[in-house]
Subunit: 408 residues, 2 copies
Amino acid sequence: MTATLQLVLALALVILAAKAGGYAATRLHQPAVLGELLVGLLLGPSLVDMFHIGPFAGGHTDEIIYELAEVGVIFLMFVAGLEVDIQEMLKSGKVALFAGNLGVIVPLVFGTLVALMFGQELYPALFVGMILTATSVSISAQTLLELGVLKSKEGLALLGAAVVDDVVAILVLSVFLAITGTGDTARPVWLVVVLMVLFFVVAILFAARFFAPLTRFVDSLPISEGVLSFVIVVTLLFAWSAEVVGGVAAITGAFIAGVFFARTKFREEIENGMHTITYSFFVPIFLVSIGLRANIRDIDANGLVFLLALIVVAVLSKVLGSGVGARLGGFDNLGSFRVGLGMISRGEVGLIITTIGLNAGLVSSEEYSQVVIMVLVTTLLTPLLLRWAYSLTRRPTARAANTEIGGQ
Amino acid sequence: MTATLQLVLALALVILAAKAGGYAATRLHQPAVLGELLVGLLLGPSLVDMFHIGPFAGGHTDEIIYELAEVGVIFLMFVAGLEVDIQEMLKSGKVALFAGNLGVIVPLVFGTLVALMFGQELYPALFVGMILTATSVSISAQTLLELGVLKSKEGLALLGAAVVDDVVAILVLSVFLAITGTGDTARPVWLVVVLMVLFFVVAILFAARFFAPLTRFVDSLPISEGVLSFVIVVTLLFAWSAEVVGGVAAITGAFIAGVFFARTKFREEIENGMHTITYSFFVPIFLVSIGLRANIRDIDANGLVFLLALIVVAVLSKVLGSGVGARLGGFDNLGSFRVGLGMISRGEVGLIITTIGLNAGLVSSEEYSQVVIMVLVTTLLTPLLLRWAYSLTRRPTARAANTEIGGQ
């Protein structure tokens, strides 16, 4: 079978499995995202190992699926950005700053301490701490979308805190690499800061000033699906430049693009089209691929203990750090707890940092597998915990959360 | 730059270039598809060679783009199938049979004769003839969609003839491989016929019987973008089984899926969603990638003469064969001419046959490049010629073509 036919079959199976898993989870009153993640885990090397059996053996369809998943997470964060009202989000600026910063510092300190306890040296131990700093908000955003509360006060604070967290985590990593002289292409700290600020300023100014007139212009041209093509191109370019120019995560760029396209008069058309593209094709691939990449068989007894410690620290340090941050920012206890829970899930930024550590010799290959499992477990736990936290009710005096139905 | 960032940038550039090229062509009163193909040619190794310069050098982003293009052509043929009324199409059955069969026989004979004239031996010469047999109707379908005449009598005859042509071309190849004993996995002729018939019967019966109730069922479930995900999964599976089980082109399976989904009550929802996905993302990639794969610098003076002969035979033999076939089927001169022109473009089936010949030692690597260029030239010529043929008017007595606006 040719590579194309392998890909066609794999896409069909992955999307079918994702939707079936999501549906099963929904029937069990769980978020769909949980079912889609678990289906991926079952199809992966932990059980079925779909890419190494039958028609897929010997091909590299898995690589293409993983690349499409990366495009999927970019589109997902764009859609999350579309849902956000920037005015509302800025209101949560104080909470976002506190929750984001403490959500970096506490995991960094706790992660380092745990690694030191397991006998690691200072630099590798600090690296374990840094791996735990970066939240991946896409799973939380997806869960909040499903729950219809992404645009609530807590949802917006969470999204803001994740952006702050992303920026601070990258800054911490850059400082570490500069001080220790690790990493071949490490930029000096001042350059990291300058480029990051430059990216945010240019991206936001450009988006605020030019998205509306450019979209209107493209819409006036006789181009098939012109507006959506334009949105896709701009989103991909924002994602690319966020990482290449700004040094932050690609999803941060996609998120900014979404926030500002929501302010144009084409919001509804863009939302309909991108929702279709994202949820019928790319997001199922992204969610299943997370499970596909993990292998729970990789971990032996010793590794299991460290892994468990890693997971416990990953969960507790974010709940504590971001939760206390949100409380200091003015949220009530339940709201702070929900923000803390929403920050638990780790993802691509954590994996990117781990890869840098692997290349620099600060992270062993066994640790790499453990980090992947940790990412998966936090990703599995986050929707469960968030859903549970949203089933808790405030005392009657508290203001009800905005429950407008989101993208689901 | 990571593979993912390369892909993100490449996707943005390819989609942007495609839409810009399509718009430029539209401004010059040419079909958009022509501009998108030419932009691909300019970005490819013939001029810019984008995948071997700057950020893409050394990666394999090009492979992923090509695979996405293959998914794109499947979606494109699905959308073409959606546009088709099966009752109307069956009315053109006689024309389709004549035009399809003569559209295989004439290019086979002429192609073989020309190759013999250029000093090739019998088997390789016969293979040149076979390469010229298989029409790729996707470019013609796209052009007719843009012109708003896909659902005209001629458009339907063209689509039917292309399906017949696909089946007959594969049968001829199978007979040839069986008789000459070429090809490792060559199936015996009876098995080829049985599997082909089996695929068509099972696919059509399944689609006619189960598409409507299954789509209704999926629509009733709480699944995000459930109907569209279901349509995508089924289309991919039909495409896959067409080639793997039926031995015909994957696009034939996608086309059948489109024809039968159009008969469900979800037609409009499916059409809107698939149009968005296809035209904002996959089709631009498909059209640009055709040009990206060709290299006009590959051809030396001697090769140029054979290439020119190949192109002339490719064009004339289809116009003559399918045109005369349509005339025998009862079309008037202009209608027959248009059907003949619509059959000119070659594509993936021709390239698949060429690859089989390459592996069997019947096609040289130079010939392979020539075939790619021939495919590209016929693909460039077809929209130009079709557009010109639709600018010709019938005498007042002739019935006007159905000019309902199609997918553009």
